[in-house]
Structure formats: C-alpha cells, structure tokens
Amino acid sequence: MNASDSIISAQVGDGMLSGESAMGLRVDIRRRTQPATRDAQRFELRLAFDAPVGITVLFGASGSGKTTLLDCIAGLRHPDAGVIRVGGEDWFRSEGTRNKAKADAGQPVCLPPERRRVGYLFQDLALFPHLDVAGNVGFSLHGLPKPDRAAKVEAALEQFRIVDLRHRRPAALSGGERQRVAFARALVRSPQVMLLDEPLSALDYRLRSALMDDLLRWSEAHPIPILYVTHSREELLSLGAAVLVMEEGQLVAQGAPHEVLRAPQSHKVAQLAGFENILRGRMEELHPERGTMSVRIAGGPVLLEVPLSGERLSESIGVAIRAGDILLASQPPEGLSARNVLPGKILSLKRRDVRYEVEVEAAPGVVLQVHLTLAAQTAMNLEAGKTVWLVLKTYSCHPVAEQGAR
C-alpha cells in the first residue's frame, strides 16, 4: 500500500514538470469504490493525464469509469487522492487519508461543484422539466442583472438554433432539440472546462453530424479543454482529436484516433473500434527475424502469422481482424505477399446496404466475417457451401490482449 502511494506521488511530481498549458486540465487521481455486495468487483479509478485546450476524446466501453472521471472533475464525486487542476487553479488536491500526517502535504482542496466552472453535458441531458427552454439555458446566469442575462440567453439560443423553442418545456421537444438546449445551457456561462458524456449517442446520424459541427465551431471560438466521452468509432473519427483509451478505470492507450483504432491493444477496445473478427488463440512461435509470431487459433489447425508484440510464449492472445481487410479467392492464390492463406467454406451470404456480409468457416469453430463490395460479389458469384480461400495480410491481424490476461 505504501509503495503504491509513493508511485502516485512520483507521478504527481513528474506531471508538474511536463509542459502543462496555462488553460489546460490536469487530472491525476485515484478513487476506489468499495463493492456494494460481497461478490461485486472492487472498482478502482486510477489515471493521470493532461488535456490541453481543444477536444480530447475519452474512449472506452461502458463500465470503464468514464462517467466517474467526469463526475470527479465536476465535483459530483470525490477521488480518494490526487490532483485536479484547471487553468492553474486546484479544484481538488488531497494526499489521501494515509498521508494526512505528512508535514509538507499542504491544505487539501476540494471545491464544491457550484464553484467549479464546468460545462457538463449529461448523458441523459438532465434538463429541468419545470422550466422552459429559455429558463433552462439561463439557469446558470441567475446572479446576473436581467438585461445581461437576457442578452446571453438570446445569443445562446441563436447559436444553437433554438430561438423558436424558447417557451417550450423539455417534454415538448424532440431528441435533437433537447440536445441543443442542453449544449446551450452548459456553454452559456463560459466554462473553464467542458465535459461531454456520450452527448450524441441517442441521435441519428444526420443530427449527430450537425451537432458535431456546432461543437467543433464552438471549440474553435472558445479555447478551453473539452473532454468528450464516447464509445462510438464514428464520433471518434469525425472529431479527429487526441484520444485517451480507458479500460477498467485506467488509461490503456492514447494517441490519434486512427492510431488507436488501427492498432487496438485490448480486446474491448478492438470491439469498440469495430473489428468484426476477434479470434482467441495462443502464442505458439516467435519469429523475431521476420518481425512476426504465430498464433494458433482456438487450439485448432488454423495458425496465423501476426506482427510481433511483446507477449510471452503460450500466452492467451486475441487477434483482431476487420471484415473489410480480408480478401476472398475462389482458387488457391499464388505469388502473394500475404502470409496467411486459409481454405474455408462459405456458411452464409447476406446483402446489407451496399455490401455483402459473408461468413466463412476456416476450421470447426473458427468463423470469420468478411465484407465484400457488390461488384466483388458479382464478379465471383459466391454462394453458401462454396470453398474459398481467405487471404490475410500479417498487418491486418492485430494482436490484442485478452480480457483478464493483463
């Protein structure tokens, strides 16, 4: 326990040295939840990161602690220890109960939520049902003189195209309208940090991209850190911002969206990143000279050559492959650079929108999903029961850590 405490303090120290921008958000916290029941898992949130001005995406499955993290920043829940600093001001600072006796610990800080200037867009929006749109948007401006408040509300209503809705109650609004009201309400008091909890998950595609444009426009005009929580790959790609990947309360990866998505490092992230095929297997051989390793899938005859990663031999490992990255051949292919060529039988063939989804069984229990264009299907004339060859480039096979293996 003491050892881990000192690790945390070391991280805090390091963080202060790194180039933390004056307007940025710094989070370095840990928070342990005692299990509600004897069987429940104890959940620990433990992470450190800097979010500069602009959008930072928090990407992770549900239950990975994303909302808890946002609540901690907003002051609705409290970490056990750590630092939350926004624009150079400590919103939270505590060494934890164990180190309270330390002479140099300094005074713990924990601002109540109402004194933290956050714009928090809740997942369920949490609009006030007893107030109309103007009342909701102007809620945070209560202390201002009336003309100022009216002007600010007016500007926000205009910016989010909800002027005509000003006298409506939330119950009389559509999903997209409510979302815009919630945006306007959160942004109207010029927050120092913006927290968005899966803000667009309930909307259809068109509304989503319109709101995304609103947000990007707002972000350009207002240089504050914006934490954007999502588990949607499309949102991740269209925001194009830096990504922090969370899993079980920890950061497991960070980088640009395409980096994180192209090379997911864990099973859950691979699922989120839209890898249709995640095969479980066991490491069988390492080929450092070729930069690859062999993974036997599900204990069967299928052996895949995948890029070398730092795993140990005979360890459980997953291999994530996108359905669109697999080639199908109706004859055994020759003269290919691809290392993995597997014979298989077509189980089913379904047309969905502008593509065919094909299920191919490469071995008993090893079924791969393959996406083909309509043109490819026309040329190959595939049908269920036909034998085909699956062609997999080594670099289309992404080794991912299996759940529970870390």
Binding site: A74, P113, E114, R115, F122, P129, F139, S140, P170, R185
Partner: protein, 251 residues
C-alpha cells in the same frame, strides 16, 4: 302517514337531513367551526415551514441514525392520540421544565390554551406533512440536482429553484393533509385543550358534546360541514396534483 314507530331509523335520518337543509344555521356552532379553521390553517402553515427542511434533510442525509428520526416522525401515525395527548399534557404542566419555561416566558400555562392546541397539533400532524414531502423529494432524479450544481447553483438555490418547484404537488398534499388532519383531530385536543368554548372547543369536540347530549340535529349540522370542507380540500389537492410536474415526461 309516517308515525315514526314502525321504521324508526330511516325516517329519522331523513328528518335529520331536512333539519340540516332547512334550519341548519340554528344549530351550527360557528365559533367552534371558526376556531377549528384557524387552528388548522395555523398548523398547516407552520408545519409546512418546519417540514420542508426536515423532509429535505431526510431525503438527502446519509447519516446512519436517520432511521431514528424517521421513526420519531412517523410515531403519531400509530400512537393512540390519548398517549400523545397525555405526554403533551404532562410536558405542558407546571411540573415539567417546558411548562415552567413557558410560564416564565409568557406568564400563563400552555395547557388548555389555543397556543397549547397549536403545539399539540404540530406534533400530531407532523407525519402527514413530512411524508408526502419526502416522497416528492425522493422522486426528483439526483442528476437534476447535480446538473443544477454544475450550473453554479448553491445548495439552497438547488433546493429553492429545482427541488421545490418539482416537488410542489407534494408540498400541496402536505399542506392539505396537515390541514385536514388537524381539522379532524379529537383525542389530543380533548386531552390538552379541555373544552373551553371560543378557546379550545373545536368542531369535533362540539360534535361529541352534542351527540352526548342527544342533540342530533346540531351534531349533524356541524358534522356535515366538516365533511364537506374535508372533501373539498382533498378533491382540490387530487385534482391539481393529477396534472403533475412533467417529471415523468422529461425523459
């Protein structure tokens, strides 16, 4: 045609109704009725003022001993009014510290006064005000209060601008139930109020006296008025709260 001997009960009731509609004001004890209304209004208003913070605290508190307070508040629901009245009488007596303190402060005892009735009724009707409020506050999604906090609202502001407007049907029920329950109280009033006309003689006591004295027409006049007032009050509350706050439709 009707000699009143063969079918005694039904015609007598019929005659009673006639008596009420024809010359009810002759029997109607206006002083007792006004006293009851004054008492019930005073109790409803002061009980609401006391119950709002108490109910809010009961809803929000995570204190371990909270259940003790809840049990205390609910006690008048199950306790015979005579038990409550007895201890209130003892507490108001000249031998108790409370009674002596009151006499020292005001110069007269609390028992057998209108103020004594108000104090007793506050205890007696407390659960009828607190429980609808607790139910109403508990029904507010915690996320709404969290949202108010992140929008800069202080704890008081959260209560005043979010919780109270959303709980107003509960507030209305609490006020009405406290009012109606005080109108209908009998045992506690009898124990601590005595039966002093114009001071502590409420409508329900008056009815009891009239029945004891065999004055059925008079009892009916007063009883029927009480029944009407109570029904109208409750119907108003249920009619208004039926429309709701829109809490359910918000999501």
């Amino acid at each position: 045609m009707d000699d009143g001997t063969l079918r005694p009960a039904v015609p007598r009731l019929y005659n009673l109704c006639c008596a009420f509609t024809m010359n009810s004001f002759a029997y109607f004890d206006g002083a007792a009725f006004l006293l009851t209304l004054r008492l019930a209004l005073l109790v409803a208003v002061s009980l609401l003022a006391a119950s709002l913070p108490l109910a809010w605290w009961l809803t929000a508190s995570r204190w371990r001993g909270r259940f003790l307070v809840e049990a205390l508040v609910a006690l008048p629901l199950v306790l015979p009014p005579t038990v409550l009245g007895f201890y209130l009488l003892v507490a108001m007596g000249t031998n108790s510290p409370v009674g002596r303190w009151w006499i020292a402060w005001t110069g007269h005892p609390l028992a057998f006064t209108f103020t004594g009735l108000v104090v007793g009724s506050l205890f007696y009707s407390l659960p009828f005000a607190v429980q609808p409020l607790v139910a109403a506050f508990s029904a507010i999604p915690p996320r709404l209060l969290a949202a108010a906090a992140t929008l800069g609202a202080s704890p008081f502001s959260r209560f005043y601008r979010v919780a109270l407007p959303l709980a107003w049907p509960g507030v209305l029920s609490a006020a009405t139930l406290a009012f109606a329950h005080t109108v209908g109280e009998f045992g506690v009033v009898l124990m601590i109020g005595g039966n002093i006309p114009g001071v502590t003689r409420t409508a329900s006591i008056a009815i009891y006296d009239q029945v004891q004295a065999g004055e059925y027409s008079a009892a009916h006049a007063n009883a029927f008025t009480l029944l009407l007032v109570s029904f109208v009050a409750l119907a108003l509350v249920y009619g208004i709260t039926r429309r709701g706050t829109g809490l359910g439709a918000s999501r």
